[in-house]
Amino acid sequence: MLIVEGVEKSYKKSGIFSRERTRVLEDISFECKAGECLGIIGESGSGKSTLGRLLLGIEKPDRGTVSFEGRSITERRARRGGVSAVFQDYTSSLHPFYTVEQALLEPLKLTDMKLKDMRKKVDLLLTQVGLDAAYRKKYPHELSGGEAQRVCIARAVSTEPRWILLDEAVSSLDGSVQLQVLELLKNLREIYGMSYIFITHDIQAAAYICDRLILIRSGRIDEIVPIERLKDVQSAYARDLLRMMIT
């Protein structure tokens, strides 16, 4: 469904006259099948968030292609309503001037639903993510971190996309809330049958939810492993990651 082929990305180093470029991603190729949950794991600065932006089509790769159901993801119409995202920073993920209801209605305007149905849908979404209709009139600054992230998830699934990018979606939440949100994501996936691309540095969280893991290290794919064979990974980096998790 989502096919990434030979993607490369580099950024100009700072300074107007500097011609040097730092290479962030190199020769990334993989495929995400429909209904699959794919984990992308790497440490800070490994280029995983850049990869996330490329996957969402809000930035173009220097070389290579990202195609979604046969069309380039950078085409706005190709991803219209079919793609969605949840980001790490829940404080800046919701528009500060929109109430929860307005925030959830916004993506629904891409579909050709009637306003009455939209409002019903908002109620349904709120209950699905474990909140209730009382949250409709609240502003983002009145929500706790977990609640805000739940609203973000509700907003992400509202258009019933084929896949969602979760960019460090649980990393800034604390332990128990993290588990609740992961559980919620699992349930939603069963309801809507979408695929996830789960970008994180937390191998434990990824192992909990993903079917397949891609390990990224300094802009290159180190290894791709199915979750069942996680314990016999080959690369030294992955072994390090696992060891750190166990200790």
């Binding site: 932006r53 969402l56 089509g57 809000i58 706005r76 119409r77 991803r79 219209r80 309503g81 079919g82 793609v83 969605s84 995202a85 980001f87 920073d89 800046s92 993920s93 919701l94 528009h95 500060p96 001037f97 916004e106 993506p107 891409l110 502003y139 600054h141 009145e142 907003r155 992400a156 258009t159 990018l165």
Partner: protein, 297 residues
């Protein structure tokens, strides 16, 4: 009408808003409000003190000061406001575009702004007036030409901090059009900043247009304008200082009201700054007191 309610709760903002409303209405319907013809010369009433017929007295040509003050609202407030709106829309639009798209678009727009801003404002306005000739329209054209770059600059800076936030990223990822994102998402968050910058510019513009009229470059002679009224009163500054008082106070009142209103607007537009439900808190206090009473009993 959330905004309206918020403004009404803020007493100072509500007062400023009513003052502005009254002034604008008086300016729009000047012939109804003004007791006399503002250009009617009556030499026998030169420097007359306030009387029931002429509430604020008469000037050096015996014209009714109150009527001139009311007619002066049109150039001093209304036309300045029009010029302000045009420059804010122009500058704000370009600022939003520059801040949102960044990269080359940003560079091109900002270099043009740099060129505009490298000329000292007053000198440039004088040059434009020199080319186009004196008169209110030309002064206003000069204002728009000089001010838009400044607005573009300020608004771009304000937009830059929001353009990178995740909710914009989300809308982009979802496939919303750029224009829609700018209007629906970026414009509301930068609106408080726009309100504050434009209100401070409004005060400055009123003072500037008065300044140009004072120099004799603004509005033509018989017509009333606050700056020109000040200029005319200057000759008798020490013998009849009250002639300066009326237009001077009028300028102070409108500039103050606009500034207070913009402060109020900034608060009213931002849900984070609104003190939510002060009424509920008041209700909670007596119930707490009652509970205490019960415990004692």
């Amino acid at each position: 009408m959330n905004l309206y309610k918020n403004i009404r709760n803020d007493k100072l903002a509500a007062l400023s808003f009513s003052v502005i409303l009254v002034i604008v209405a008086a300016g729009l319907f000047a012939p109804l409000f003004a007791p006399h013809d503002p250009n009617e010369v009556q030499m026998e009433l030169r420097y007359a003190s306030p009387s029931w017929g002429y509430l604020l007295g008469n000037d050096h040509l015996g014209r009714c000061i109150l009527s001139r003050l009311i007619y002066g609202i049109r150039p001093s407030v209304l036309w300045v406001f029009v010029a302000l709106v045009i420059s804010v829309v122009l500058g704000g639009g370009l600022g939003l575009i520059a801040g949102y798209f960044r990269g080359k678009t940003d560079a091109v727009i900002m270099r043009i702004c740099d060129v505009m801003l490298s000329f000292p404002g007053y000198v440039m306005s004088l040059a434009v007036i020199g080319i186009l000739g004196a008169g209110l329209t030309n002064v206003l054209i000069a204002f728009v030409l000089m001010k838009w770059a400044w607005f573009a600059r300020v608004i771009r800076t304000s937009v830059l901090q929001y353009a990178e936030s995740d909710y914009i990223k989300f809308s982009k990822a979802l496939g919303f059009g750029n224009f829609r994102i700018i209007v629906k998402q970026l414009l509301p968050v930068s609106l408080p900043d726009i309100a504050v910058t434009s209100s401070s510019a409004f005060g400055a513009m009123i003072l500037q247009i008065s300044g140009f009229s004072f120099l004799g470059l603004g509005i033509e002679a018989p017509h009333a304008e606050w700056g020109m009224m000040l200029n005319e009163a200057r000759e008798v500054m020490f013998t009849r200082p009250e002639l300066m008082l009326a237009p001077g106070l009028a300028i102070v009142v409108i500039v103050t009201a606009v500034n207070f209103l913009s402060d109020g607007l900034q608060v009213a537009l931002d849900p984070k700054l609104i003190v939510s439900k002060p009424k509920l808190q008041r209700q909670e206090i007596p119930s707490a007191v009652e509970r205490k009473g019960e415990e004692v009993a």
